[in-house]
Subunit: 319 residues, 2 copies
């Protein structure tokens, strides 16, 4: 007797970053083939890059039967309904680009564009550390701090597709300004550059000689594990700031899951232990009893998996 | 030919506060009859009060045909699905009360309980200053600071019915503690008591003799309009704090409407002018172009209208 379990449809997921464009064929939580990434700066603007992508997509549709949709995650502001990229912060020439239209016309497949943090969020929700959640906040900690929201089991994008900008939320009304004049922006406290700068300053004050590499998150978490008091102090400050930002999210949205991704999430208990403790001390009981704070399951794969998943979701709604 | 416009159903809305329980018969945006309020402290706990309410509800169902549901807004934590009041902060003896069950059994009508800020939010969304919004934040400014959210056109309650606690969100990670140990809670900066304390301190420093009444929001807005520099300074500080809290909400939720209610909302341009300016200076363009910040339409009526509206909404879903 044949199994009645539905096989997940295939989709192509594209994860565009400032340095590379990664892509692959996805079935559910699985990347069944990932291709050699394209080097983003080698293409002069969006049209040559999108043209090359359609060639690659066609090759994949010839190889795999039943690819149902194409999803592209981009590092910036995307109008998901119109399939439009408004502006990418770190990639030149990407202003007002009709990504969906170009990819759909070139590949013959329904194609969609989504913000990369939302794609990551959706991958974690469907297949990763957010599985089973109803209301979930995803946050990515890196040079920048981004985020995405799943509310009532659906990706929540806001009125102009901008929702989830956790890194831009203020944690200090008298603090330093963020990229948009926003005072006390969380990103300016927990971004990788800011963490490195704090570590460098504290080491210098202690008359310790360290290299710039010693001030990177990975080295700082190893140092803290060895008992280095300055690295420990850096993470203490870090978790105080991050707890402030995430508690604000929790008071507003009362979620049952927070998924933390990005390099810092790999620091493990050095970050998660004090973060959870500081948050629990600042939340009413009903806000913390159902709340799980967990590291992301997917690292670099989240973009491809999530973009593919978003594309399948949007394609099925269109019918 | 009869009109095909559907007449809105009737519902009873109950707005419970620490001093009075107001209630009335509601049709859409209209309270068609409001009764003499019951004095909350005159009843020894929930059972006598709910019993009295069922008697009143029965009298109203005898008078009006077609009352479809009863909704009760409470100042605290309510489990809407189970119709359960967990705890009311300002009313003694209201712990673990099965409000819906008691009211339904006593009145014979489908009865529901909702947090009062959510009820206010829903009234504004359906009939008031939030009409036409898709994603809306409602905030009530008083002794406490509360809020409610409508996302994708529906009341959003969160995983344990606690969402929208804007007053508990931190705006200063190194600031004063809120009721729940939450550092920098907005409420501790823009609550009526805190505003009065700031005004009293500034007047004292300036060697001005003022009464406690002069430090209340209403008097302070009148004074600021007359040019009183200290009152102006109070509102400047106030709008800086409020802008910080609301900007954080906007970065996270990217709404198209913010509805501001409570006493301070009546201060008009003294608050709304600088608030909008300070927020615009701290938001990316795509977050501010579609965002309207408006005063609430309903004052004291929002609770009755909103509770009735929520009840009709929940009753229709149950079918």
């Amino acid at each position: 007797m044949p199994s009645r379990t539905k096989t997940p449809k295939l989709a192509i997921g594209i994860d565009m970053g400032g340095t590379t464009v990664k892509y692959g064929v996805v079935r559910g939580h699985e990347i069944i083939e990932e291709l050699e990434p394209l080097p983003t700066p080698a293409f002069r603007g969006p049209n040559p890059l999108l043209k090359e992508l359609t060639v690659r997509i066609k090759a994949l549709t010839a190889k795999y039967k039943g690819i149902a949709a194409v999803g592209m995650g981009v590092p910036g502001f995307a109008d998901v309904t119109r399939g439009y990229v408004h502006e990418l912060s770190n990639v030149k020439g990407w202003n007002r680009v009709e990504v969906s239209k170009i990819l759909t016309a070139g590949s013959g497949l329904p194609s969609f564009v989504e913000n990369d943090a939302n794609a990551m969020c959706y991958a974690e929700f469907l297949h990763g550390a957010g599985k089973g959640a109803v209301n979930m906040i995803a946050v990515t900690l890196g040079t920048g701090v981004g985020g995405g929201l799943v509310l009532k089991g659906q990706l929540y994008r806001g009125s102009t597709f901008g929702a989830g900008e956790i890194g831009q939320m203020g944690i200090d009304y008298g603090g330093v300004r963020g990229e948009h004049g926003n005072i006390g922006a969380l990103e300016k406290y927990v971004g990788n550059r800011e963490v490195a700068a704090l570590a460098a300053m504290l080491y210098a004050q202690a008359r310790c000689r360290v290299s710039p590499e010693d001030c990177e998150p990975r080295a700082l978490s190893a140092a803290a594990r060895r008992g280095d008091p300055i690295a420990k102090q850096v993470w203490d400050t870090y978790t105080t700031h991050l707890a402030a930002g995430l508690c604000a999210c929790v008071w507003l949205l009362n979620p049952d899951r927070i998924v933390i991704g990005g390099g810092v999430a790999k620091a493990g208990d050095i970050v998660f232990g004090p973060l959870k403790k500081k948050m629990a001390a600042q939340l009413a009981k009903s806000f913390r009893t159902q709340l799980k704070i967990v590291p992301a399951k997917y690292g670099n794969d989240a973009g491809i998996i999530g973009s593919a998943a978003v594309a399948l979701d949007l394609a099925s709604r269109r019918k």
